[in-house]
Symmetry: C2
Subunit: 612 residues, 2 copies
C-alpha cells in the first residue's frame, strides 16, 4: 500500500527549497499570514488522510468497480466514507476564496493535496478532481444568484461537479456539439442532448451533482450556430435547488444512459448522460433545466479555467501514479533477493544472493522512474506556483506567470501522461512475473495511468496547441519568455563546475528546439509545420524537464555545500544522480525527435491511405 | 474481431517474395516435395481456422478467465472445442518429423500458423505454444522407451506439455533450484518441490499433461549440487502412462496449489504446482514419479531447444498482438469521422468532417504500428527460416544459420515485446476514449502483451545474453557474421538510388553498434561493460529491424519495377513508406541509446541505494 514518507519529503523539498515558496508567500498580501510550519502541517495532514483513509480503498475499488442498480450507481465499498471524511475535514475549500467559505491557501498546497490523494487512490480522487475547477469557473463567471445557489456547496464539497463536453459524433471537435439549450420564459433554459465520457456523471457520494454543460442556444431561425462560437455554458443540477441552495425535492431531467467498462479507473463510473430526453419530466415537461453561466456564445471561454486546471490535474495524477509505482518497485527491489553480484569477471554463483536493487539494470529502471516522476512532480508544483502568481501576484508578475502557464500547460499535461506511464511499465518490470499479477499494485497503476494521454485533450491535441498556437502566439512572445527563464537557470548552472556540462547540454537542446520551431514554420504552411507536432511535443517536454532537473540539481548542490544532515545528504545526492540520469539517458532523444520536425518530414502527411 | 486478409497477404509476401522460400525449399531434400501452392493452402487454412474457430473465443476468454472448482481448472467457454478442432485438423504435427507421425513441413509454416493463432486469441495459443518445443526436446534427448510412451501423443497434440523451471526463491537464477529428484529402484525418480508461473499447469483441454521439469538429483551425501551444473530434466506426467502410451488410471503426485490473478492472458491459468507433496500418493508413496530425459546434470542443455523456441515464440506472439491492434486501429481510423482537413492555413470548420485516418498524427500512429509490427513479423519469419536451415541445410549452411539464430534470438524475443506493446498503446490512442473501454479489443491486446518483456527471460536477461555472451563468443564470430549479412543488404541497396540513403544510415548505425560493443568491453571489466546492457539491446534491435526493413524495401522496389497489379502496387508503396518511417522516426534513437554504452556510463551502476 501507498507510503507517504518519501514523496512528502520530496514535495517539501520542491516547495521549500527549490521553489523557495515560504519566502515568496510572505511577499504576497494573499498569503502573508502563511508560514512554512503551517504549510508543512497541511502537507503532513494531507499525507495522513491519503494514506490512512484513502489508500486502503484503492485495490478493492479496482476489483469491485462501480455497479448499477435501478439506474443508480453504487461506488465501491469505502468510497462514501472516505468522501465524507474528506468533506468534514474541509479539504475541498483549501484553496478557495475566504469570501465564499474557502481557506485561502495557495494552489501549490491544493496541488500537493491532490498529489497525495492521487497516489493513494486515483480513481476516487477523480470525484473531487473537478471541484476546484468548477469553483473557479462559477466564482469568475456565474451570476450572483447562481453563486448564491451553488457556489457554497461546491466550495464545501457537499455537492460534486462534472464537466460535460464530449458528444459521440464530435469527440475532440467541439464545434459540432448538438446539445440544444432553448430559452424558457423564466430566464432558465431547457437542454436536450447526450454527453459521453462523463466521469462521475452519476454517483452515490453526494446528494446533488452540479453538471457544467456545454450546449448551443438556437438562433432566431431555430438552427444552431456552427463552430465553437455558438457554444454556451450552463449549470444543470441533477436535483433542483432553491434560491438559498436547498434541494427543492424535484429531480431534473438528467438520466444515466449507460456506463463504460474500462481498462482502469474502475472505481469511478464513466457515464453516458441523457439531458432532457423526458425520463424525468420536471416542472411540467421534458428538457433538463439549466442556467446560463457567463454570456451566450462564451461557453468555451468560461470553461477555459476549468479545462486548463483539468489538464494540469491530469498531469499531476499521471505523475503520482508513476510515483506510487516507483515507491512500490523500490520497496520490492530492496527486499527481493535474486542473482549474484557482478564482479570484474562476471557473476560468481558461489556468492550469496543479493537484493535485486544491486543489479545495474534494476537501478536503471529505478533511476528512470525517479527521474521521470520526481521531475514531473517538480514541474507540476512549479505550474501550481504559477497559478498562485497569476491569481495573487502584482500585475506584471501575474501576466508573466499566466504566459508561462500557457506555454507549460501542454507539457504539464502530456509529459507525465507519457513518461510516468512508462515509469509504471518499468515498475512492473522490476517486479518480474509478480508485477503481472494482482498481488502487487503496479499493474493497476499502469492500467489507471493509460487514460491520461487521452482525456482532457489527447497527445495530438496538446501537440497542436503547443506548436500550432502557443509557440507562435504574439510573435513567439511565450516561447521567448520560457527560453529566457530556462536560460536564467543555465547561467546559474554554468557557474557550478559539476553542473556546467549539463547546462551546456540544456542550452544545446533549447537551441535545437528553437531552430526546429523556426524550420517547422519556415514555409508558413500549417499542414507542413504541424505534420510532426507530437515528436515536437516530446522533444519540447524533455527539454522542459531537463531544465526543471537542472534547477533541482542547483538547489541540491547548494544545500550540500551548506552541509546537510546524513540522510538529507543521501537524498540530495540521489537528486544529483537522477538529474545525471536524465541528461545521459533521456536528453539525447531530443535530437532524434527534432529531426523530422526540422526537416518538415512528410512521410506521415503524404502516406497513401490504401498503402496501410 | 480479428480479420486475416492483410496479415495473410503480408506473410505470403515475406515468405515468397522477401525470403524467396519456395525456390529454396526445392533445393532442400527435406522439403523438395513442397511447392508454393501447398504452402499457400496451409497458410490460408491456418488463417481460416484462426479467424473462424479461435477469434470468437478471445474477448470472452478474457472476461471469463479460468475458474477453479474442486481443485480442477475450467478453461473459458469455447476453448475446449477450439482445441479439439485444432487437434483433429492435425495442426500440432505440422512441422514434426514424419518418422514420428509429423507432417514434415518447414518451421516457417509452423511459425506462420502460430502467428495466425496468436493474433486471433493469444491466451488460447499459449496452451499448444510449447508443443513444438516439447517435441524437439523429447525427439532429440529422450530415450526410445520414453519416446514410445510420450512422443506420439505430444506430436498429435492429444496431450499438452508444460515447461517447469521457475521456483519462488530462485526466479531467473536457476542455479538455486531446490526441486529434488531421488532415484527409485526401477530407474524412475521421485520429485519433490514447488514450481511457480507454470502456464497451463492444469487445464481441461487434454486428458494428460506432460510436465517437463528441471530438478536436481542429490549427490551421495544427499546434498544438491549448487549452480546450474546440478540441474537435470525430467518428464513428469500428470497421469501415469504404460509402455504403449496408454493411461494406466493412476494419478501422479502433482497438485495444483494455486492460480495467479493476472493483468492479461486471462484465458490460460498461471499455476503454482506442488510436485510430490503427497496430495496424490502414487504406487505406494508420496513423490511425483518422473523420468530422466538426457543425461544427469544436462537438464539445461536438453531444455535449450525448448527455451530458444519459446523465446522466439514470445516474440512472435508479441508481434501478432501488435499486428492485431494495428488492424483494429486501422479499421477504426478509416471509419471514424472527426475533425476537418488541415489546409495551408489551418483547419476550416465549414468543411465536412473527415475520417481520422486523414490526420497526419493518426497516420503517424498507424505508420509506427505498421513499421514495428510488419518489421517484427519479417524478423520472426526470417528466424523461423534459420531454424529450418539449421535442421535441414547442408552442414556449413546449417552451422551459419545456427550462429545467426543465436545472435538474433535475444532480439527476436525482446524487440517485439517492447515495440509491439508500444504499438498496442498507439492502437488505444487512435481509438481515443473508446480505446480505454472494453467495447474495442485494443485494451486487451495491450494487457496481454505486457507479459512478453517478462517471461522466458526478461529484457535484462536478454540484454546480458546479447552483450555479455553472444557478441563476444568465439572472438566475436557471431557479430561478424551478422554484420556481414547486414552489409550484403547494404551493398544491394546502395545500387538503388531511392534506397541508397537508407543504406548509408544503416551502415552508420551498424558501425556505431560495432564501436559501442568494443568501447563497452574496452576495459574487459564485465560490470562496466554490462552496466548499460538494455540500451545496447534496444540500439542493436533497432539496427536489426532497420536491416530487415531495407531488405523488405529492396524486394518491394524490385517488384514495383517489374510492374505490379494496382492493389499490389499500393501495398508495395506502403512497405516503402513504412521503411522510410522507420529510418526517419526510429533509427535516429540508436545514437541516443549507444551514448551511455560507448562511454561505459556509470550513473546506474554506482547509484547509492540510499539515494533512491
Amino acid at each position: 500500500m501507498w507510503q507517504y514518507e518519501a514523496p512528502l519529503r520530496d514535495m517539501r523539498y520542491v516547495i521549500e527549497d527549490v521553489l523557495g515558496l515560504p519566502a515568496q508567500w510572505a511577499a504576497l498580501p494573499a498569503f502573508a499570514e502563511l508560514d512554512a510550519d503551517t504549510a508543512r502541517a497541511v502537507l503532513a495532514e494531507a499525507a495522513r488522510f491519503a494514506t490512512e483513509v484513502l489508500a486502503p480503498t484503492n485495490a478493492n475499488g479496482d476489483l469491485e468497480g462501480c455497479t448499477l442498480a435501478d439506474g443508480e450507481v453504487r461506488t465501491p465499498r469505502g468510497y462514501k466514507e472516505a468522501y465524507r471524511a474528506f468533506v468534514e475535514a474541509g479539504w475541498p475549500a483549501l484553496a478557495c476564496d475566504p469570501a465564499v467559505g474557502g481557506q485561502g491557501l495557495p494552489q501549490v498546497l491544493n496541488a500537493a493535496l491532490y498529489e497525495m490523494l492521487a497516489a493513494a487512490n486515483h480513481a476516487w480522487t477523480m470525484y473531487p478532481g473537478l471541484l476546484h475547477g468548477a469553483y473557479e469557473c462559477l466564482h469568475l463567471h456565474a451570476s450572483e444568484e447562481l453563486k448564491q445557489r451553488y457556489l457554497g456547496k461546491v466550495v464545501s464539497g457537499e455537492w460534486l461537479s462534472t464537466m460535460c463536453l464530449t458528444e459521440a459524433h464530435a469527440g475532440s471537435d467541439l464545434g459540432l456539439l448538438a446539445t440544444r439549450a432553448t430559452p424558457a420564459a423564466d430566464g432558465s433554459y431547457r437542454l436536450k442532448g447526450t454527453k459521453i465520457f462523463i466521469s462521475g456523471g452519476e454517483q452515490d457520494l453526494t446528494d446533488n451533482i452540479v453538471h457544467l454543460v456545454l450546449a448551443k442556444i438556437p438562433g432566431p431561425d431555430g438552427k444552431l450556430v456552427p463552430g465553437t462560437r455558438g457554444i454556451s455554458l450552463f449549470i444543470v443540477p441533477k436535483k433542483l435547488v432553491d434560491t438559498e441552495g436547498r434541494l427543492t425535492g424535484e429531480r431534473n431531467d438528467v438520466a444515466l444512459a449507460g456506463l463504460n467498462h474500462k481498462l482502469g479507473y474502475r472505481g469511478i463510473p464513466n457515464t453516458l448522460l441523457n439531458f432532457g430526453e423526458g425520463k424525468y419530466p420536471v416542472r411540467g415537461g421534458a428538457g433538463a433545466i439549466g442556467y446560463l453561466v457567463g454570456k451566450p456564445g462564451e461557453g468555451l471561454r468560461c470553461m477555459f479555467h476549468m479545462m486548463n486546471e483539468a489538464r494540469i490535474a491530469v498531469g499531476l495524477g499521471a505523475t503520482m501514479l508513476g510515483y506510487a509505482g516507483y515507491e512500490a518497485s523500490l520497496d520490492y527491489a530492496r527486499n527481493r533477493p535474486q542473482g549474484r553480484a557482478m564482479g570484474p569477471g562476471g557473476k560468481d554463483p558461489a556468492q550469496p544472493q543479493i537484493p535485486i536493487i544491486r543489479h545495474a539494470d534494476v537501478r536503471r529502471m529505478l533511476l528512470a522512474q525517479k527521474s521521470w516522476c520526481e521531475g514531473a512532480l517538480a514541474l507540476e508544483l512549479y505550474c501550481a506556483r504559477l497559478v498562485d502568481e497569476l491569481h495573487t501576484g502584482a500585475p506584471e508578475a501575474a501576466a508573466e506567470a499566466g504566459l508561462l502557464l500557457e506555454m507549460l500547460t501542454p507539457i504539464a499535461k502530456s509529459w507525465p501522461s507519457e513518461w510516468c506511464l512508462e515509469a509504471n511499465s518499468l515498475a512492473i518490470q522490476v517486479h518480474g512475473g509478480y508485477g503481472y499479477t494482482r498481488d502487487f499494485p503496479v499493474e493497476q497503476y499502469w492500467r489507471d495511468n493509460r487514460l491520461n494521454m487521452i482525456h482532457e485533450g489527447t497527445h495530438g491535441i496538446q501537440a497542436l496547441d503547443l506548436l500550432g498556437r502557443k509557440v507562435v502566439m504574439d510573435g513567439g512572445k511565450g516561447l521567448q519568455l520560457l527560453a529566457g527563464t530556462i536560460n536564467a537557470t543555465i547561467q546559474r548552472a554554468l557557474a557550478v563546475p559539476e553542473l556546467a556540462g549539463f547546462a551546456n547540454e540544456l542550452a544545446a537542446a533549447l537551441a535545437e528546439v528553437g531552430r526546429a520551431t523556426k524550420a517547422a514554420w519556415a514555409t508558413g504552411v500549417a499542414e507542413e509545420a504541424l505534420a510532426n507536432a507530437v515528436p515536437y511535443l516530446q522533444a519540447f517536454g524533455h527539454t522542459v524537464i531537463a531544465w526543471i532537473w537542472l534547477d533541482v540539481a542547483l538547489c541540491a548542490h547548494a544545500k550540500l555545500g551548506q552541509g546537510a544532515a546524513a540522510d538529507d545528504e543521501a537524498a540530495l545526492r540521489g537528486k544529483l544522480a537522477a538529474c545525471r540520469f536524465f541528461y545521459r539517458h533521456d536528453l539525447p532523444k531530443v535530437a532524434a525527435w527534432l529531426q523530422v520536425v526540422a526537416s518538415r518530414d512528410d512521410t506521415c502527411r503524404t502516406m497513401a491511405e490504401e498503402g496501410f
